[in-house]
């Protein structure tokens, strides 16, 4: 189901949403999604994992990052810091016991929780890919843009990247951010089998990967 959670934003308190499987059980997993388009590509796989965890007696919560999906906050007002604060609020509100951070989600997850980091992505790599998508699209349209000048503009004025109006603080933050892993277990794609769905140009369901991820979490939790 969809549940609301209170989250401070640039213009005061706002209600954000999360997809939840909540039956007030003791094991409660927060899933911090990947950033930008990768969140969409991985969502179906993660939601299927949540269904399997639900059947195994584990509650799970997949919050929207403020500014994305149904959020009423503006995307261009977001920053890594803001998302970090938001995920902390979500973790307290849902009283989670564990966390699974996915790809760029490892830049903003509550590091004090035990859990898993799935194929962590570095901020500079995410930014490089977004800038590159923009320069390639510009070239197709017969315009010339280069990553270095775009980055300069982005850091001062903000920039539209892959359809997201990124504020200057988000771009500046991504430029240096590295995953902060503090004892969480690293999950490599090879453990789930198949190719990483964040790479897939046209995403599909991946029931085998969902099942492998759920099995791994259940085994670690002794569920």
């Amino acid at each position: 189901m969809i549940a609301g959670w209170p989250c401070p934003g640039p213009s005061g308190q706002s209600e954000e949403y999360a997809l939840t499987f909540d039956r007030s059980r003791t094991q409660r997993l927060l899933i911090v999604p990947a950033l930008f388009d990768e969140a969409n590509r991985l969502r179906r796989m993660l939601v299927e994992t949540m269904r399997l965890l639900d059947s195994a007696g584990i509650d799970s919560f997949l919050p929207d990052l403020p500014g994305t999906n149904e959020s009423t906050q503006a995307f261009d007002a977001q920053s890594l810091h803001g998302w970090r604060v938001a995920m902390k609020h979500a973790s307290s509100h849902f009283r989670v016991t564990d966390v699974l951070a996915v790809r760029g989600g490892t830049l903003v997850f509550p590091t004090t929780l035990p859990g898993w980091v799935y194929e962590p992505a570095k901020g500079p790599t995410i930014l490089r890919q977004l800038l590159r998508a923009r320069t390639i699209a510009a070239r197709e349209a017969g315009r010339h843009e280069d990553s270095a000048s775009l980055l300069e503009i982005g850091r001062t004025e903000g920039l539209e990247l892959a359809g997201y109006r990124c504020g200057a603080s988000l771009i500046a933050g991504l430029q240096d951010a590295l995953p902060q892993i503090e004892g969480q277990r690293l999950i490599a794609q090879a453990e789930l089998g198949g190719g990483g769905l964040w790479l897939r140009a046209e995403p599909a369901a991946a029931p085998d990967q969902s099942a492998a991820l759920a099995r791994l979490i259940m085994a670690d939790l002794g569920a």
């Binding site: 998508a133 070239r139 892959a162 190719g195 790479l199």
Partner: protein, 89 residues
């Protein structure tokens, strides 16, 4: 098939969601950008970033042009040169 060739095929299989068999049938003249509709600018950006990561090379903006991505052969030749520079350097 050398390492660069097999790595590139593996990445294309991940990006395009094709079976290893399908990707194994790619030859030098197989068209990429422009021929495969699912390879849009975002997918190409992901492809290049993943290639950099797995082959430990850096691809500059001005090296990415229409010709580079025109065919499997063009992309592979370019990457083999990059990898050999890395090995020499």
């Amino acid at each position: 098939m050398n390492d660069t060739d097999s790595t590139l095929r593996a990445i294309l299989s991940d990006v395009l969601g094709l079976s290893a068999d399908r990707v194994a049938s790619f030859d030098a003249s197989t068209g990429l950008f422009g021929d495969l509709p699912e390879l849009d600018s975002m997918a190409v950006a992901g492809l290049l970033t993943e290639i950099e990561d797995r082959l430990d090379i850096v691809i500059e903006d001005d090296e990415v042009d229409g010709e580079l991505l025109e065919s499997y052969g063009n992309l592979l030749t370019f990457l083999e040169a990059k990898v050999s520079q890395r090995t020499l350097g």
